[in-house]
Amino acid sequence: MADETAVSDLPSEVTDMIGVPLYHQSADFDVERGYTYNTCAATQNANPVYWDDSVAAEITGGPIAPPTTISLWMRPHFWQPGAEGEQVALQVHFDLKRIFGLPEAVMTDNTITFYDPVRPGDRISNRQVLTSVSGPKTTKLGTGRFWVIDVEFHNQRDELVGIETYTGFGYVRGAA
């Protein structure tokens, strides 16, 4: 978790971002069961909620997607008509690297909190919220700053379905 720092230490471009939902995006396609089967096949997951509709009806009120698939719905297609260049996920992370002039970055922690289940037919959207930025820190990687970004996921009814929290460390290599 980033140690919060005095607001005066941060440029206004950053303080203006803190706590503000940014980069609202909607998924390119609806939640569908193909990815449930792909995920279960890839992990040899026999949970009957994903394979037996009668079990899903009894336990989860109908089919759901595995909770840990929450972020896959927002990942762009590898290719689509008119798209150029690589689309960057977690734009706030790259914004902070640019603003602070920190060319390198790693993610040190990832937390996923699960809320309402995601169901086939849902259309997921997300938005990024910068929650904190540390003062300058030196680690074995170099000198830079830690930051914490929440990515909030909602369904088409604006119900919260999950939050991914990333702690990133942007740094200049070899400055330790």
């Binding site: 990815y35 792909n38 995920t39 279960c40 096949a41 890839a42 992990t43 040899q44 997951n45 026999a46 949970n47 009957p48 909620v49 079990v55 336990i59 989860t60 009120g61 595995p66 909770p67 840990t68 698939t69 972020s71 896959l72 990942r75 590898f78 040190t108 922690d109 990832n110 937390t111 996923i112 909190t113 699960f114 809320y115 309402d116 289940p117």
Partner: protein, 164 residues
């Protein structure tokens, strides 16, 4: 999967049955494609070895999360409902590894809404013929809701009744 664990069957210090899985290139590629992770280090050997400087393609993070989910719900049964996962990556999982999931129960509670919770510390380690000593690749703290009785179902909880 027939297990339907209830909270009275869980105690701090309990060990979750271990899961060992031999990893092949197909394991890695299946996981990457299932999670829509198109980055080449998860399917392109030459990219992984020549650009990333690692020994082979390696398991991607979202797929590791799905493996953690499978490991935990193998133990709880289908009525177990994930509330929260926090994980840290330390090393990579490569084809040729056997990855092993182990966990112990660190916490058993019932919250103010009556929802039962188990806390787990999960370790994902790997061994291979070349590196036979187990190396810890990831750790994951999990908070999973478990029925408090045979007729309880955490999946029926919504809104203020669900505090993950």
């Amino acid at each position: 999967m027939t297990t339907k664990l209830t909270l009275d069957q869980v105690a701090v210090g309990d060990a979750v049955p271990a899961l060992a899985v031999p990893v092949t290139p197909t394991t890695v590629v299946l996981g990457a494609i299932a999670s829509r992770d198109w980055r080449p280090m998860h399917h392109d050997y030459k990219f992984a070895t020549e650009r990333n400087g690692v020994q082979d393609i390696f398991l991607n993070t979202p797929n590791q999360a799905a493996w953690f989910e499978r490991f935990v719900t193998d133990w709880t049964g289908p009525t177990g409902r994930l509330g929260r996962m926090k994980f840290r990556m330390r090393d990579s999982i490569f084809p040729g590894d056997t990855m092993t999931f182990t966990a112990s129960v660190t916490d058993v509670t019932t919250d103010e809404t009556g929802c039962g919770w188990a806390g787990l510390e999960v370790t994902l380690s790997a061994t291979s013929a070349e590196r036979p000593e187990p190396r810890v690749c990831s750790t994951c703290s999990v908070r999973v809701a478990v029925p408090t009785s045979a007729d309880d179902n955490p999946w029926s909880r919504r809104g203020d009744q669900w505090k993950p």
